[in-house]
Symmetry: C2
Subunit: 549 residues, 2 copies
C-alpha cells in the first residue's frame, strides 16, 4: 500500500482538483496498481473535468445537480432499455427504453449478487464484506448497517444536499441502520422486504406461491414450537432525520395481505412524486432515492396490468413500474428541473429465479445465473444515466463500472468528495470521466465478486476466474472469456493458462488491503427500537426474539 500512498500524494501535488485520489481516499490495491499506469493522463483529465463541472454549474445558476437514483429490484440484464429484448420476453418497458435513448447506457454495470449487498455497496462505497453486513433475513434479525459507516446520504448531506429515501431499504431492523439515522432527512420504507410483503400472506398461499406460513393452511398436532413462524413483523414506517419512526396503514390485529402490498407500492410512488415537487422548490440541490418494491410480486391480481404476452407476475409488474418511472420523468419536466437532474436508473442484481419462474415469468435470458449467484447473470444489470446538461444522449459505454462507484462519483458531482472517510478502504472509483466524456473514459477494468463473505470470482477485462473451492489448487480454477461465452459454460482451462498467475496477483493485491484495513463489525442491537407505535403482536415477536438472544 505504500506505493499507492506515494502515488496518491504525487497526484495531489500535480492537481488541486477534487478527484477521489487527490482527496486521500484509500482504495483497493488493484485500483492503485491500475492507476499507476495512467497517473499523468488521469490527473490531467481530472483538471479538465473540474473546469467542465464548474462551467455546467455556472450555466445552472450556480446550482449543483440534483440526483435521482432509482434502483429496481431483482431484474436481470436485458429486461428493460432494449426494445428488441422486450420482444424476446413478451413485455414492454417503453418509458425506460426512452430514458436509455436520452442518456448513457452502462453496458457493463456490475452489482453485488443480492439486495442487501448491492444496497450496502451503493450506500457506503464499499464491498459489503468490509462493513460486516451480510444479507438481511426476512424476519427479525437484530442486525443492520452499522452507524460508523458513512453513507452517500451523509456525505451529500454534509455538502448541503437535501436527502430523501423512499421504498425498499433492506439494511437492517435496528435503530442505527434506519435510513433517517443514516443521513436521510426523510424516509418512507418497510422494515423488512418482499418475502414478508408479497409472500407471507393468505393470497400467496391461495396462489400456491407460498406454503405453510398461513396459520390455517394446515394442522400439525406434533408442532410443539408455536413461535416457529414469524408473525407480527413491522410493515412500512416513515420518519424524519433523528426522529422516531411511525408505522403507517396497519392497525393492531390487522392481517397483512396482497392488497395492502399493492397500496404500499402505490404510496411509495405517490410519495416520490410529492417529494420531487417539494424538493424542487428548495434552494438546495437534492439527492432523492426511490427503491421500488415491485416488480417483486408473486400474486396475480385482477388489475388491468396483466396485458402482455409474458403474463408473469414480475414481468407484468415491471411494465407497471415502467409507467411509474414515466410519471416521475414527466414530473421532472413539469417542474422544470430535468436539465440539471442526474437520473440514474438500474437493477440491483440478477433475476429472482429459484423455482418461481413459472409464476413470475423471469428468466436469465443472456447471462447465466440470477440473484445470489456470482455468475454474470447474478451481477450484471442494465443501468442508465441521464443528465441533459452534461451527459451525451443515446450513447453506450462498454467500460466496466461497479455499483459502489456511484458513491464516489455522486460525491464528486455534489462537491462532497472531502466528506468521504479516509480511514478505510473505499472500493468505489470516481467515474465522473466516464459520465462526462463517455465510452473509453472508465477507470475500472476489474471487479471482485463476493457471495456473502466468500470471494467467488475475480473479473479482469473480459476474463473471469471462478475461485477454486477450498483445498482445490489454483491451477484448477476455471477461467471464462465473458465476451465469447457470456453464459460461462466453457472454461478456457488450457487456453488461458497464461492468466493463472495474473489472477493470483490480483487476489494478493486485494488481500493486502484487507489485511491492512480489516473488515468492520456489522451493527447489532435489539430489533425495532425507535418506532413509536409497535403493535402488541410486534412487541410479542420482539419479546420472543430477545428471550433467546
Amino acid at each position: 500500500m505504500r506505493l499507492a500512498r506515494l502515488l496518491c500524494l504525487a497526484v495531489i501535488a500535480l492537481s488541486m482538483g477534487s478527484s477521489a485520489c487527490a482527496s486521500g481516499i484509500v482504495q483497493d490495491g488493484e485500483f492503485n496498481f491500475v492507476k499507476a499506469q495512467h497517473l499523468e493522463q488521469w490527473s490531467e483529465q481530472d483538471k479538465q473535468i473540474d473546469t467542465k463541472l464548474a462551467e455546467i454549474r455556472e450555466k445552472q445558476g450556480g446550482k449543483r445537480p440534483n440526483i435521482l437514483y432509482i434502483l429496481i429490484d431483482d431484474v436481470g440484464f436485458g429486461e428493460f432499455g432494449i426494445p428488441e429484448l422486450n420482444y424476446v420476453r413478451g413485455t414492454q418497458t417503453p418509458r425506460i427504453n426512452k430514458l436509455s435513448d436520452e442518456g448513457l447506457s452502462f453496458m457493463r454495470m456490475y452489482t453485488e449478487p443480492s439486495c442487501t449487498p448491492t444496497r450496502t455497496a451503493m450506500m457506503t462505497g464499499r464491498h459489503p464484506v468490509r462493513t460486516g453486513l451480510e444479507e438481511v433475513k426476512v424476519a427479525l434479525i437484530g442486525e443492520g448497517l452499522p452507524k460508523n459507516e458513512v453513507t452517500i446520504a451523509e456525505v451529500l448531506s454534509k455538502a448541503g444536499y437535501a436527502t430523501v429515501h423512499i421504498g425498499k431499504w433492506h439494511m437492517g431492523d435496528i435503530k442505527e441502520s434506519y435510513p433517517h439515522n443514516q443521513g436521510f432527512d426523510f424516509a418512507a420504507f418497510p422494515l423488512n422486504q418482499q418475502v414478508q410483503l408479497s409472500l407471507m400472506t393468505e393470497d400467496a398461499e391461495r396462489s400456491n406461491a407460498m406454503t405453510g406460513y398461513v396459520k390455517s393452511s394446515y394442522t400439525d398436532k406434533f408442532a410443539l414450537d408455536k413461535k416457529f413462524k414469524p408473525f407480527g413483523l413491522v410493515t412500512g414506517v416513515e420518519a424524519y432525520k433523528g426522529k422516531d419512526a411511525h408505522e403507517v396503514d396497519m392497525e393492531a390485529g390487522e392481517q397483512w395481505n396482497q392488497e395492502k402490498y399493492n397500496d404500499m407500492n402505490l404510496r411509495y410512488q405517490r410519495q416520490t412524486l410529492e417529494q420531487l415537487r417539494s424538493l424542487a422548490k428548495q434552494e438546495k440541490p437534492f439527492f432523492l432515492q426511490y427503491w421500488p418494491l415491485i416488480p417483486l410480486n408473486f400474486v396475480r391480481s385482477d388489475r388491468e396490468q396483466f396485458n402482455m404476452q409474458n403474463g408473469g407476475t414480475m414481468v407484468e409488474s415491471m411494465n407497471q413500474l415502467d409507467g411509474w418511472v414515466g410519471e416521475i420523468l414527466d414530473e421532472l419536466d413539469k417542474l422544470g428541473i430535468a436539465d440539471n437532474t442526474l437520473v440514474v436508473l438500474m437493477g440491483d442484481n440478477g433475476p429472482f429465479l429459484r423455482g418461481y419462474q413459472k409464476i413470475t415469468g423471469m428468466s436469465d435470458m443472456i447471462y447465466r445465473g440470477g440473484k445470489a449467484d456470482h455468475l454474470e447473470g447474478g451481477v450484471r444489470v442494465n443501468a442508465f444515466a441521464r443528465w441533459p446538461a452534461a451527459i451525451k444522449p443515446d450513447t453506450l459505454a462498454g467500460d466496466m463500472i461497479h455499483v459502489s462507484d456511484l458513491y464516489t462519483t455522486f460525491a464528486r458531482l455534489g462537491g462532497a468528495t472531502k466528506y468521504i472517510p479516509t480511514d478505510r478502504i473505499i472500493d468505489g472509483i470516481d467515474q465522473t470521466a466516464l459520465l462526462l466524456e463517455g465510452e473509453g473514459n472508465g477507470r475500472r477494468d476489474y471487479v471482485y465478486i463476493y457471495e456473502g463473505v466468500v470471494l467467488r470470482s475475480i473479473v479482469k477485462q473480459k476474463f473471469k476466474m471462478h475461485m477454486p473451492a477450498p483445498g482445490v489448487p489454483g491451477a484448477a480454477a476455471p477461467v471464462f472469456d465473458i465476451a465469447r461465452d457470456p453464459r460461462e459454460m466453457t472454461p478456457l482451462i488450457e487456453a488461458a493458462l497464461w492468466s493463472g498467475a495474473s489472477f493470483q496477483d490480483m487476489l494478493k493485491r486485494h488481500m493486502m488491503g484487507v489485511k491492512k484495513y480489516p473488515h468492520s463489525k456489522g451493527g447489532s442491537d435489539k430489533p425495532y427500537e425507535g418506532i413509536d407505535n409497535l403493535r402488541p403482536e410486534t412487541l410479542d415477536a420482539v419479546e420472543t426474539f430477545m428471550s433467546w438472544h
Copy 2:
C-alpha cells in the same frame, strides 16, 4: 383438406386479387384452420394490398421491386442488428445495425435448424422434408435439390425477373441441383461448403481446428483404405443458365488453403457488387441473392480484421462481413435503386457451436441451442426487411414468420404468384401484409420444427411442445412458454396440461396434409456432372465414389 379447398374457393369468389389463397395454392392444414378464423378480414386486406402495391409500382415508373436477399451463415439471434448485444459479445456490426434502423425487424423469424434445410425451405417454399432433400454432407454425395421442385428463382424468372445467385448454395452436387439449373440466369458458388473450404486445409490443421485430414499430419501403417479421406473435391464454379459450369481459381494438383478461401470470399463480394451494377442497368427487375461463406471461419489470419474484444474467428469475420454489407448498401444508393429494392438480410440458423466456441467466439447468448437443434437457439435468427418505397423504417414486428414465407411473399411482390405450383403443399405463407402494414398483420402463429426428417417440436403462439420420443406417451411431452423461458429450461408440464390436446390436434392437421400430398423423392445422380473442367484428382474421387454406388 376439403374444408380448406372450399374456403379457398370462397376467397377466390370474394376477391380477384393475387394473394396466395386466391391463387389456389395448397397449404398446410394448420394454416387453413387459422385462415378460416380470419377469412373476411384477410380477403378485404388483400384487396387493399393489391391497390397499395399498384400505387407503389406506379410511383416507381411501373417497375416491380428489385429483391436483394442476403442470407448469413450460422449466426445466432442477437449477433447483429442490436447495438447493446454487440457489447455483450464484444463485437461490432454497425452497418447491419443501421440497416435494422432503416427497415422492419422481424423479431420472430424462424428458420430450419441447419443450412441445407433453411436454404431449401427458402428456395421451394416447403419444409425440406417434403422435397426429399436432407442435409447435404461435406464431400461427394450424389444427391441434391430435385428438378421437379419449383424454386423462387424459377417463379420470379417466369414473371420476368433477372435472377442471380452468388455464394454458398449447399443444395447438392448433382447437375439438376445447381442454381443455374434451378432458375438462376447466372450463378457463382462452391459445390460443397465451408467444412471443405475452411477446415480441410493445412492451415486448419496447424491451428488445431481440424485433426487428421491433411495427408502429412500423421502416419498410420495400419490404414488399409486409402480412400477414407475425401480429396479432390470441386471448389468454386460459375455458370450461366442451362450451360455447363466451370471451376475457377484452381489448377490441377493445387492444394486448397485458407488464403484461397479468403480469396473466394472476396471474389463473391466483388461479384455481388459487379452483378448489382449490371442488373441495375437492365429494364427488368432483379432477384439477386448473396449467400456469403463467412462468417464461417476457423482459421486466424493476420489481417487487421481481428481488432475487437471478442477475438473469435467467426465473430471477427462477422464484423468483416458487416462492412461488406455496408459496401453493398452504399452501392444501391450510388446506383439510385435503393428506394425500390427490397433488401432482406437474415441468418440461416443458429450459431455453429459443437465444441468450436473457443476458436470462433460463438455463443447461444439468448435462446438455448445452436445449429442442428430444434431448440429456439437453432431456429431463431435476426431478420430485417428494408424497402424505402413501401416499408416503414425503424419498426419491429413480433409476429411469427418462417423462412419459407419469403417464397410466397417474394412471389406476390413480383407479381408471380400464379407461377407457384398448386399440385403440392406450399408451407410458405404470404406475409405481404406484415411487410407493408407492420406488426400485428402477420398470418402465422405456428411453426413445425423438423430436425432432418423427424418432427421435433411444434410451436404455437408463445407455447412450444417438444415432441415425445418414440414410445413415450404424449402426456409426457414437455411444453415451454418461450416468452417466460426463452432458454427452454423449465417445462410447464402440470401448468400447461390444457395444451396437450391442442398440440395433438395441430399434429393431426399437419399429418393429414402429408398423407394427402406425400413427400417427394430427393434428386440422385452421378456427382459433379455438368462441370467442364474437372481436375484429374476430382475425376479420381468421382470414380471411387461411383465404384461402390
